[in-house]
């Protein structure tokens, strides 16, 4: 009687992990059929043929699947490891965006005649020159941690607003994630990636100047993907190690942004990596720093970080490959970019075996204190 309706729903339930289906599938199917079938054979025959899981029903199963695959407390080790790795990766990308925001904010303050928000013309011109110089040196922007559009169609003021407002938004998103305000982080992050989409679409439609592949790639890899991946920050996600992540902001600014700025200000911009190169260098250094822990096989949680670094290396590597298209007429830059890519892949290979092992040996913390007390 319920054959095809049941089949359609079971197909949707195929999204769920096997261990979960084993325990709950029959019950879910029974409840689903109860919600449709009336007990009247004629009506039920028609419903069975015509009805199927609604989009809302499919969405609820999908959301459940995501929560289970990117598991939190109480999840099987493999799913917990993936959940933690995705959450750490999102935090790492948000950290880079937040430091980029801090960099932009400091740049704006320096250009805004300290203490007053009304800029002096010369300072604004200096900012404009700085932005243009940065944009000219590479489409992926040297000198700034995170690339922003060179000068927006409206001129220098929209550019400064964009850099300040969106940069600050990333700082807020990072803080919200670290402090556990996941919903606020998602909302602000969606708002933060929208101006870039508008900018890209407007440039694409007017063709003045038409955005290149790298601009879309940046938006997708460093805006959209992390925002979508924020779905891993669900109710069961263990809280982030707040103090470490918060300290990482000033530490990263001092260790990464300041040296880059110093290179730029002292006229050594030839030494500046583009954003893609910077990502490769940072992931390489992180992999090398993590390698002793990954090889010790005893450090708790090392596998999750190995998986995190492998994911970050994949994103940085993909972006490095895409940005190679920008340097087709510059053999030196191609050679440097390929060297960055290969060194990063070699460093990632050092932690990859630990990342593979982590799928089987990462215990998840218990779900709730209440469960422990029970």
């Amino acid at each position: 009687m319920s054959g095809s309706l049941e089949r359609r729903y079971r197909r949707v339930l195929g999204l769920l992990p096997g261990w979960y289906r084993k325990q709950w599938e029959e019950d879910m199917v029974a409840a689903f059929l109860d919600s449709w079938l009336t007990g009247d054979p004629e009506a039920d025959a028609y419903i069975t043929k015509a009805a199927g899981p609604s989009p809302a029903e499919v969405a609820s199963v999908t959301a459940l699947a995501v929560r289970l695959y990117l598991g939190g407390a109480g999840a099987p080790g493999r799913h917990f490891a993936w959940g933690q790795a995705v959450r750490n990766s999102v935090l790492a990308v948000m950290l880079v965006r937040a430091v980029g925001g801090l960099d932009a904010f400091v740049g704006a303050v320096r250009a805004h005649n300290f203490g007053t928000w009304l800029p002096v013309l010369e300072k604004a011109q200096a900012t404009k020159a700085h932005v243009v110089q940065a944009a000219d040196s590479s489409p992926a922007v040297a000198g700034h941690l995170v690339n922003t559009p060179a000068v927006l169609p409206g001129g220098i003021w929209p550019t400064i607003f964009y850099t300040d407002a969106v940069g600050c938004a990333w700082i807020v998103v990072f803080l919200a994630l670290v402090l556990g305000s996941y919903r606020a982080a998602r909302v602000i992050a969606v708002l933060a990636i929208t101006p870039a989409l508008v900018q890209l679409l407007s440039a694409q439609l007017t063709g003045n100047p038409a955005p290149q592949l790298v601009h879309w790639a940046f938006w997708i890899l460093f805006d959209v993907v992390p925002v979508v991946a924020m779905i891993a920050f669900h109710r069961d996600a263990p809280p982030a190690e707040g103090r470490c992540w918060l300290l990482a902001v000033p530490a990263s600014y001092v260790l990464v942004a300041v040296p880059l700025l110093a290179l730029l200000e002292t006229g050594n911009s030839a030494w500046l990596p583009d954003f893609s190169g910077l990502c490769c260098i940072l992931v390489t250094l992180a992999c090398l720093a993590h390698t002793p822990r990954a090889w010790s096989r005893q450090a708790p949680g090392s596998g999750v970080w190995s998986l995190t670094l492998t994911l970050l290396a994949a994103v940085a590597g993909l972006y490095r490959v895409i940005t190679l298209s920008e340097y087709l007429h510059n053999p030196h830059r191609i050679a440097v970019s390929l060297a960055e890519l290969l060194i990063m892949l070699a460093a990632a290979a050092l932690v990859a075996p630990d990342a593979v092992r982590t799928e089987t040996n990462t215990p998840a913390p218990p779900r709730y204190p209440r469960a422990m007390a029970a």
Binding site: S2, M28, A31, D34, R235, P239, R367, A371
Partner: protein, 112 residues
Amino acid sequence: MASQPMTGQSFFVLTALADGPRHGYGIVGEVTELSQGRVRLKIGSLYGVLERLSAEGLIEPDREEAHDGRLRRYYRLTQDGRRALAEEAELRASTARVVRARLSVTGTEATG
């Protein structure tokens, strides 16, 4: 690590089981009625909640019954579940009392 606050969905599901065991779709109907139509659980959402509550030890399977060729599994509250629900109900009631008291004060000022 502080204990997590109970979600609205969990609260309604536990309340639906407070007066006796229910099967999956029975819980959906009861939650809709209890919430006066404000909470309409999809099956995927319901089993997400049931899995959590079960892992927390707040509910447990009661029995299985055949119905139209399908096996319905019934769930019931555990002692911990009953206690957690009572605590949550008390918390919500005390919050409601505070809200009413504040509203009556501002209402008096507004009308006075």
